[in-house]
Symmetry: C2
Subunit: 231 residues, 2 copies
DNA sequence: AAACCCGATTGACCCAGGTCAAATTTGACG
DNA sequence: CGTCAAATTTGACCTGGGTCAATCGGGTTT
């Protein structure tokens, strides 16, 4: 799972968008020694809700699901993480959600203590982390509106457009939207059941709004999907 | 609405819990000149979703509702703010939710630019703001679980206990839980309708779990309410 | 290519919570 | 007080989405 550090931050795929975007070349060289590249395979758990935070992760490749469980097993996915996302921002205490790899994942792992020391005299890095936290907070609030106040159709349409939008920075813009997560994952993200998600996909396809393709969907009539999502 | 600054941060009710908790006495004297005390009355809007952030607010007294609206008027309350809460943490861009006073409110208002300058060479203040943002993020995730995966009974029970818990730091612990917000506010917070909230309250009362009193509820059987919330 | 597995889809039915429509209570004001 | 107006409660009914149970692929193993 852990490999020696044969890489350079300066060539990193997420150099421009991740936390490290706030570092200058000199800092970057020092930073390079703090992180270690780690791999996870399909379904593997990277950290759990109840774990005390000992590491931060900078996602480099792949997709992760971030979720919380109720004691009786009900699951709410609170977000999907994409390359460039920074995980475990709790500087103290516990992670407050769990994270699994969806498919193969590569991340840059930092031990909490040295990372904390590195931040201390680099307020611009702290500021960058703060920006990311505030952006996530804003996404979280949007998602609350979706969970509390939108219908199943609106939820699915909003999800497809939002996911496509997030993929732009990773794969560029396209009407083909890959969905690496399962229907169950989508359901647990939208506060629905797997059956409702499936039925809604089928309905959208029957109406010519989307086409269900292997491993994702294709937006046939983006305007119609947008109309559904706006409502 | 704006009054001259005849107050001292050192006597402030939220001195120990708000952002300013991270400032030493010398800094506090300087900080004092940045903020101005403002008042809002019942139902008054402090800022709106679409407003560009020009001020931050430190809530001193009263309660506020923080919410987002869909174009068709559906509302989701994303949180209630209590004394000590810091609002408008977006350092750039727009507020991403609206905020109304519930009852009379007193706040400490900071203009964005001088506040931003003040932060710049005080990383511990930035760190404090970051901590608050991360705590809010954690609350937001908990609320997503509630909205996406809990039944009406569980939502109401969880709300009552959570609200009581939050009030501890303001009014101390008690089985009497004041509810300054309307039933509609509670419904919009929990992703329910006003009728369902009302019916659930009545049901809890019939079962002897709570008593509905003027301006709030009284927990008659906290253990039963906790059992409902845990589920 | 048959057997198997597992995720996804579809169908039939049901119920928690929404909708609509009255009461009823509360509060503000003359 | 009496009068409105607004908030809350209650009742009757309905429906969106959940539940339960087949069925349908698509991929892998033998």
């Amino acid at each position: 799972m852990i490999e020696p550090n044969g890489h350079f931050c300066s060539d990193c795929a997420v150099r421009g968008t991740a936390v490290c975007a706030s570092l200058d070349p000199a800092e970057l060289r020092e930073f390079e020694h703090l992180g270690r590249r780690v791999h996870f395979s399909t379904g593997e758990t990277v950290f759990s809700e109840e774990d005390i935070t000992t590491s931060f992760f900078n996602l480099l490749e792949g997709v992760m699901r971030l979720y919380k469980l109720l004691p009786d097993g009900r699951r709410q996915i609170v977000g999907f993480a994409l390359p460039g996302d920074f995980l475990g921002m709790n500087m103290s205490g516990r992670h407050n959600f769990s994270a699994d790899a969806i498919g193969a994942v590569t991340a840059c792992q930092f031990a909490k203590v040295p990372f904390g020391r590195f931040i201390e005299d680099r307020p611009h890095l702290l500021q960058r982390i703060n920006e990311l936290a505030i952006r996530e907070l804003s996404q979280a609030r949007d998602h609350m509106v979706l969970l509390g106040r939108r219908s199943a159709d609106e939820k699915v349409a909003t999800f497809l457009l939002g996911w496509r939008e997030r993929l732009v920075s990773v794969k560029g813009s396209s009407n083909i939207v890959p969905l690496p997560m399962s229907r169950q994952d989508i359901a647990d993200y939208l506060g629905l059941t797997i059956e409702t998600v499936s039925r809604t996909f089928t309905k959208l396809e029957r109406h010519g709004a989307i086409e269900i393709v292997h491993g994702g969907i294709c937006l046939r009539d983006p305007a119609r999907v947008e109309a559904l999502a706006a409502a």
